[in-house]
Amino acid sequence: MEQLAITIHENYLWGAPLWAVNLIVMFGASAVVLMLFVAPFAGITSFVERRIAARIQDRIGPNRVGPQGILQFLADGIKSLMKEDLIPTDADKPLFILAPYLVFLGMFTTFVAIPFSSKLIVSDLNVGLLFIFATSAITAVGLVMAGWGSGSKWSMLGGMRAAAQIISYEIPTGLAALCVILLAGSLSLQTIIAGQGAYPWQWYLFNNPFNPLAFFILLASLVAEGNRAPFDLPEAESELVSGYNTEYSGMRFLFIFFAEWANLYIIGALVTVLFLGGWQIPVGVSEWAGGVASWFPQVLQFLTFFLKVLVFVFLIIQLRWTLPRVRMDQLMEICWKYLVPVAFVCVMGVALWMIIWPEGLPWMTYLLTAVAGLIVAYYCYRVIWQLRNTKATLEFNPFV
């Protein structure tokens, strides 16, 4: 970004001061990321989640607005915009008004460090990962603020739960990420990706036997941090009406939910960057694409990255309809008794592994890749078995 600002300053806007150009570029970049990527992604994900949820429950889902209901999120957004902006009399007004923007800020700032391709990144910070974990914790402040500011017992309980949950799960998240940081020797996301290759056995996921464990720990704790089911205690409908957003309506409510859906992308992107090789595409493909056009490899890298993220977005949506909500004590037990100790073991294991085999063990990576492949194959077999066993009527068309 600084490079872009300097280029623009030197070549096009001689008269303007550099800081002004920097400011324009900064706002321009955030506007582009927000309007061209985050907002459509969050909107369409909200629709896709509802469709997937419906199919998992043998329903059809929203299919009225636009072709197959694809414009449902626009209709919901317009509806929310036109709603009355309600502020409860008991609310702490400044906190109540400020809270959704903090939630949104915590989500949106992480996009500064998340890469889209090898060159398409707002800013490749050398503390990228730390930055992402730090800024996403602003969300917790926003949620506690929303809970307190609403002046309602449900919101209060939801906010407190959100705070307890997010702070607890920061620890396994950090520890699991540490496994990769040890291997990559850097916090910059681009450097972490550059340390991996395009093929599965070149990913950090299969680098050593501890990394798959760390991968699952990271995924689980990121889901918990994002307040997604089965860890959605802060907004448990059956106990807390809607948790910290009970008293919100209209646009503020939409901001909180917008952040939640955009957070899905961040979870997927983090897992992809750390363990699944990010935007890496095979060198041969990259060279061939570079021969076609200079921007073409970037597009392929973006698509690769995006597809990997979508897999995780789908998995997280599916997880929501697979597991029932855990209890608060179970939530803490999972974090402190299982995820944290196992994550510690993983960190120590990776460190030892790096001392004993500094170059890595090629046969181990192949073995782990093969095991992962077998697990995926067994998964497919079990899915088919479930269908056969229940003699289900099949319907593969997603657009019924």
Binding site: I56, D58, I60, L323, V383, L387, A392, T393, L394
Partner: protein, 176 residues
């Protein structure tokens, strides 16, 4: 909690989450049970509901005797029959209106009908934009319908008209 218990828990969690994922995934490929009425139905709606279900009223005007039994039986007076007499032609009906918006589907009108002319049909999709359209007019506007005269009981060989068969297509019912 023993150590073996601890690892047992981890194993249980992993296997049950895996199994849960296969079940939810398999449901993605199942046919939804939702019927998208009225846009997409697997078969015409009249075929889906029971053959003898009782929804709207219909009068078979060719066997109506204009006895007014149904009008008298109706507890909420939603049936309105006007008859006139003319020399040479005899008695005829000028109106046979049933206000379906008022009708409560009690079925009392169908019981005294001597020929089974007024009866329920399984059709039910008659949503309209105004209450006026809910009035079923069985005698066309300005038309005359000569009532049916049932054959005398003592004539054994009279071709007694059979009770109306299954209702015909809804397009034939005079509407509006």
């Amino acid at each position: 909690m023993s150590v073996s218990n601890y690892f047992e828990n981890i194993k249980d969690a992993a296997t049950s989450v895996f199994e849960g994922f296969t079940i939810t995934m398999s449901h993605l490929f199942r046919k939804p049970v939702t019927i998208q009425y009225p846009d997409k139905t697997p078969m015409p709606v009249t075929d889906m509901i029971p053959e003898r279900s009782r929804s709207w009223l219909r009068v078979e005007m060719d066997i109506c005797t204009a006895c007014l039994n149904c009008e008298k039986a109706c507890p909420i007076d939603c049936i309105k029959i006007d008859t006139e007499k003319e020399e040479g032609v005899g008695r005829y009906m000028t109106h046979f209106d049933i206000d379906m918006a008022k009708c409560m589907y009690c079925g009392l009108c169908t019981e005294p009908c001597p020929t089974g002319s007024i009866h329920f049909i399984p059709e039910f999709e008659r949503a309209t934009y105004s209450l006026d359209q809910m009035i079923e007019r069985f005698v066309p506007e300005g038309g005359k319908v000569i009532p049916y005269k049932p054959p005398k009981k003592d004539k054994p060989e009279a071709e007694a008209p059979a009770a109306p068969e299954a209702p015909e297509s809804p397009a034939e019912t005079p509407q509006n």
